[in-house]
Subunit: 484 residues, 4 copies
């Protein structure tokens, strides 16, 4: 099959038989569920843009396996140029959807596996890489969306997997069969899970010998027997159920996250990419995390939307020429571009791994993500400053349509000549959406915790800098004889 | 009547005949409306605490008119000690409700009017102060909650009131009668409006001669003929309509804001406190703003709740002893107490006005509020850091109760021994409520824009500092002869 | 004696026979030493202002012992009003000198001792308070400047005093005699030491039983036998030795710090205020630290000078009306006033101790100081932004006077009509002085470390907040039943 | 000639006959002047490293003119890889010298001229590019250090060059001769001027028709007749004149800046690269500024030294394992690497100009530099936090050597076993040097103002972002029909 169109993607989802729960009920039609649908729209855009000539350079790549043009989301990075394009693809999609478009996590998982399966094989003489490449070819050929599933519930954080009172707090092998393995456990915070064809499971932390049963990585169809999805709820989620559309802010796109439960699920051997090689769990986590921290370039894209919205409301309010407003817009752009710089830089400074895959600079990827845990909050604060208090005191769309009070609202919320009150409401609701509503979940809290919480990056920064060299020069410059 | 009890307050509200609209429909029972009710609970607490001995010192005062014990919210500050107690009362209530308790705006309006009506009379030989004191005695005697209504819609911000294409964009007198005046216009962002017995109207900006019809201040019963309230909606507002209670975060308290429309409303002369004295509009705005910027001590109280919640989730997550978590809690406290310092300092540095009323330091009140436009955002960011990503990926209460998936949720969201999954959910929902949900409206966006947007404070800071003295000393110290 | 005049103070210093070393040589004439002299000028101002009617209210107080008017620097605070005046006195002096005026540390030591000597006596039946009050009367009567000496060298920070390889790393008793004790050790970072008549020694940390010999507090004349002062050097110190005056920035005032060595110094019993009561060492440290953290209100005064200088250079550069410059000046003021708020608030929230002395709020004093470790750095950064690069590329005063190149400099450094190039140089040198030069030592680095390094305040903030109450309410609000 | 060695460079400087003034006197031996010498050492290192195999890749390039290996500082960037290597070369040198090494400004001037001379020729049919390339070949062949001179004194900032009361406030042509032109004026803040062989002059602002005489660019030997250098003084400059070496902090390297006066200096036509083409002045300024803002990667190098010093003093103080110290070191690294990311990203995102030269991304170069105006100040603040107060209270080197007090100092400033007091002093003096002393001039104030003050970058950021696209998507997402 060639790359799927958006329509083909949507159709392909309809064929899946996912077990999805939301608000305590089974979701019968996942694709058309009003709360889930906007997130599907966002993934769908990753298919649509790949067919548009102006985005072809960013959205597609040439498979190093088949030599065919593929969607970049299924590509294994073959150069720093590929890495930089990944950064730009992420920002592009964020800037067009104003939300999380979910497909990067599978890409990051596949790239990490392309490195680690190779390294395991080199060291242990296994054949994981061969298996993985066969699986990859299938994904590329069918242009599939994969969920990369890493985060286990973790139970008592002070205990390793095998010491947990409940052995399922980390996903693990419960049975080895001739044709495969049976696993049990759960993966939390799974972004875009129910819009995916496949789910790729990885361990979530470094492991030691006792945890061997937990050192497991594999891929499954999203609707494999025994997998259940339970949707997380988001701020303002039920506004999508309301009759009007203005109050939801973003008319088209959204994100979602789910808890994925694996209840004794069978995985055939050809889809197992790590099996008890606990000593490689840490590397897989670290490589995936580095790739995924780079991926937060998407937040610069969401920032683009929020900046555009802030500029627009400033104009609607008649305040766009006030020097303090202009200065705040500049600050928003400055912070947003600083985020982008981090993602570009870690890509540009990436390097070739033994497998041939290019990996970002681990140090700079962590620096990039660390800024993502800060700047979107400040950008949001500035957006709220510019928006004005009306953003949180605006009556509902129904009030504006009400025969009793609608006219009053239209009268009193008018600003300058030529500015539509409805348009002003719309842009205010978009800013609310990104800074307090459903998109705030992705733009703020997930910027904080996605791809690892801030402290995780700080630890990595600490490990990756060459402190010895810095100290050596400092001592030389002030005349301290290096102690030997 | 003595001070009302909470029950008496609630009963008194039921007697009002308010015209309230929400989601395009008239609210038939305001007091019991599930979205409005939590905000009534918060005001009710201001009545309840006044009867509790441990809070008597903060919550009550002695009327300088009647000599009787009154609720401090109806008191005119007679000393800097009164001002400091006002700060502490605000923090106390914020720390007990975790939200905006709404009653300060009327107190601030009355104190500002006690100064300005006196000053008008002194200059122009009018009798506004006498009228006002009579009205004040009525408020104190009946222990009423007053809405202080200042912010007009303002239309085209580049034009003064009388130049607006629509003359109603600022509330104004449309007719003078023998027994009073008729007014038209609207007041936006009215916090606690539908929980109030009275509404006290003030002009919103400095005015010049052409704006005389707009220079008007008066008080009306909240249910006077011609007044309509249209509720603003808040992030996650409809969660209060859901069957469960966990997902709303704060079980008890909330805030609300409304647009208040005055459609040719009659005001008898005895309730008119400014009438066309445009040259005093600016002073009234400034005095009210100074008092109200002090009032944001309440956000230190909400901060207390958020800090308590952050510490609790840290404990539930088993992370409370991690040095970076402890450090973040300290930073939250540090920022929160810095907010409190600003409110205490502007009170402590307050002074007696010609009317006998004590006014806060205008400079320091603006400094106080300026910090309020910043620190709650950072405190929220840190709270989200500590809370973890689960705060925005947690399934709904209904999922936890679901026979199909509830057990899985309880199993997989368990952390350490002895920690209740439900309690963890509850505290996460409270943090969500304050940082993204209904309370975020008050804790964040209203911290930004309430009592004036940040730029308003910056202008006041610029005007209030004694730059000439600073420059004089700087020049002396470096040997510049002062130019005369 | 009544309060000394500035001249009498200077004369009194000339009578002292201090052992002072600087640049490896003994300073024969301390008072006239060009590097030390500016710091003496600053202390002298504390005497001069006390005689000026406009400053009398802040600079003087009524002794609670003698009932006489005394310099406030020798006063024991008898009310929160006294505490607030102390804050204002500090800011006033900072704003007039642009540097550290050194006399607060003795005041803070005496106030702390007034509390702790009383508490020791109450618990142990000793007579330290009586001794102390007699000494205090002597200080008040003679209007003396006292150095409060707390910080020991501390050696290996991981070891308590009595476990140090060198027993002298903390000052301690080496001999007990009939008429007194003999002590040995040193005190570091002693601000204003060689401008003082007296030195009051206190322990530097909480102590346990083994450290009893180190739990000692006493007062000595500054020129007691066995005391030696070794001056610390400051950035740009030797500019004061240059012929011209412009390049030193501040023409009049400065600060200094010294290491004070006690080489077997005898202390008579009547001047010993703590002797082996190790269990009170911690309280003395904490009370002194709280007072001294309040004292950093002086930095808001230095900030006033820097802001005045920044405004002046903006005017000289013709940039004062640029919106970004005005905004930076506002930000400087905002931060500076926030510092002031902290000091006012901890004073206002102070309370009476059993001894009758008023102590500041420990929590808010620590919050105050924590901000002092941050904001002066940002204020300096903004001042450098406004000043322009010339501040660090300006040729020397001698170049401006040079017959070969002076005219060129005067020509090319001219800005707008009517602006004196020399005056511009002067104000640039003042900004350099405060942000990089001798005054930067006090405004920046000592703001960081004086009265305890930032982490010390964070620990105290952590201890002082009522976390249990915050958690209790948070749990109530979200429906968690308090565990009993 | 091949690339010069360090020794050859130093020898070449000795042959120059520069007119240099400092402290009001002519400097007879520039190379050996103790204040200037450290800056020469830093430039010298750019020659030395080019001969070391491990640095060859960064320090050298292949000339696109001659095809020979040249020092990268004389290279015209032929690819984004060249641009990225420029970034890394800058960081490398900063990390080895701990100061400004001065040679980048000439490289940036030449690259900007390689673009603009080409563009002028294309539009106007002139031959500037040919002239420039010939000159470039000379520079490359002789491996010269060039000073890029842009900043004019500017006089009254509100007036354009030709309206200034003194026509010399911007450098301009005063006479056109057959064989060349005569110029007059001055260039301020000239980093590394007296260590340069050549000086390349460019206009400093965009110009209009009346300013044609000011639109001039050319190159001259540094010792051309009529050029005079007047050295700027730096914080702590005279410590380099002291006998000891510890107190100067950095034993080897430093920077300098000078005012360069052009008093009717003749320039032959073959060295004139712009002559009255005022419409290209703005482009030249902007291209140079973009390159030079990229160059501030060097500050990440200086940051490396400061971080190394902070880690070292933490170890000497026995505090390196305290969690708050580790966290501060991480923060320093994080900010420092964020600076690096900006410089890498603007290089990576650079593009080919019509002349063939690669130019950095203007937007990201400005974002990069904007962060440089902030983060070094915070890194310095953290370094001072870690260093402790001793950094500013430490006695002089002479005191430590003094027979009277040296032993006491050595005794009392000892920390843990095995830590040399002298080494601790040395590292403290290095931190003082970078945060308050001579190197602070470069690390802080010049980070603020070099390559344009912060507001200049903000204006460029505002111009370079695609706001229309951001607004278009924001409107689409919330359902606003784009107005046509």
């Amino acid at each position: 099959m060639a790359m799927m169109t958006g329509e083909q993607y949507e159709a392909s989802l309809r064929k899946l038989n996912l077990q999805v729960y939301q608000f305590g009920k089974k979701v019968e039609n996942v694709v058309d569920d009003p709360i889930i649908r906007p997130s599907m729209n966002a993934v769908k855009l990753t298919y649509e843009l790949a067919h548009q000539p102006e985005y072809e350079d960013l959205m597609t790549a040439t498979s190093h396996i088949s030599g065919k043009k593929i969607n970049r989301f299924t590509h294994i990075h073959q150069s720093t140029d590929d890495l930089v394009k990944k950064t730009k693809m992420g920002r592009l999609l964020g800037s067009l959807t104003g939300c999380c478009f979910q497909r990067c996590v599978g890409m990051d998982a596949m790239n990490a596996l392309s490195i680690v399966t190779y390294d395991i094989d080199q060291k242990l003489g296994t054949e994981y890489n061969k298996r993985f490449l066969k699986y990859l070819a299938y994904v590329q050929e069918n242009d599939l969306t994969c969920d990369g599933a890493m985060t286990d519930p973790k139970g008592d954080r002070s205990l390793p997997p095998h010491k947990q009172p409940d052995p399922d707090m980390f996903l693990h092998v419960v049975e080895e069969k001739e044709d495969g393995i049976v696993v049990r456990g759960a993966k939390a915070h799974q972004t875009g899970a129910v819009n995916s064809h496949e789910i790729i499971v990885m361990p979530t932390i470094s492991m030691r010998e006792g945890d061997a049963d937990y050192a497991v990585s594999f891929a499954l169809p999203a609707d494999a027997d025994g997998i259940t999805y339970i949707m997380g709820r988001q701020s303002c989620d039920t506004r999508k159920l309301e009759a009007g559309t203005i109050d939801r802010g973003n008319q088209l796109f959204g994100g979602h996250e789910a808890l994925v439960v694996f209840d004794n699920v069978f995985v055939p051997w050809e889809r197992v990419f790590m099996y008890k090689e606990f000593e490689f769990a840490g590397q897989l986590v670290e490589n995936f995390a580095s790739y995924h921290r780079q991926s937060y370039a998407c937040k610069a894209g969401v920032g683009d939307v929020l900046i555009g919205a802030a500029q627009t409301i400033a104009e609607y309010n008649g305040a766009a020429r006030a020097s303090h407003v202009k200065d705040k817009i500049i600050e928003m752009n400055h912070l947003n571009e600083t985020l982008f710089c981090g993602s570009v830089a870690c890509a540009c400074e990436g390097g070739k791994q033994p497998s041939g895959t290019y990996l970002v600079s681990t140090l700079l990827a962590n620096v990039c993500k660390q800024n993502v845990t800060r700047f979107p909050y400040e950008i949001s604060r500035l957006a709220q400053d510019i928006a004005g208090g009306l953003m949180v005191t605006l009556p509902s769309e129904d009030d504006f349509k009400s025969p009793e009070v609608g006219e009053w609202l239209t009268k009193y919320y008018k600003t300058c000549e030529g500015i539509s009150t409805e348009n002003r409401n719309r842009i205010l609701r978009l800013i609310e959406n990104i800074t307090l509503g459903t998109a705030a979940v992705g733009y703020l809290t997930e910027s904080m915790h996605g791809a690892g919480s801030p402290q995780a990056q700080r630890i990595m920064i600490s490990r990756q800098v060459n402190m010895a060299q810095k100290q050596k020069v400092a001592k030389q410059l002030c005349g301290i004889k290096e102690e030997d």
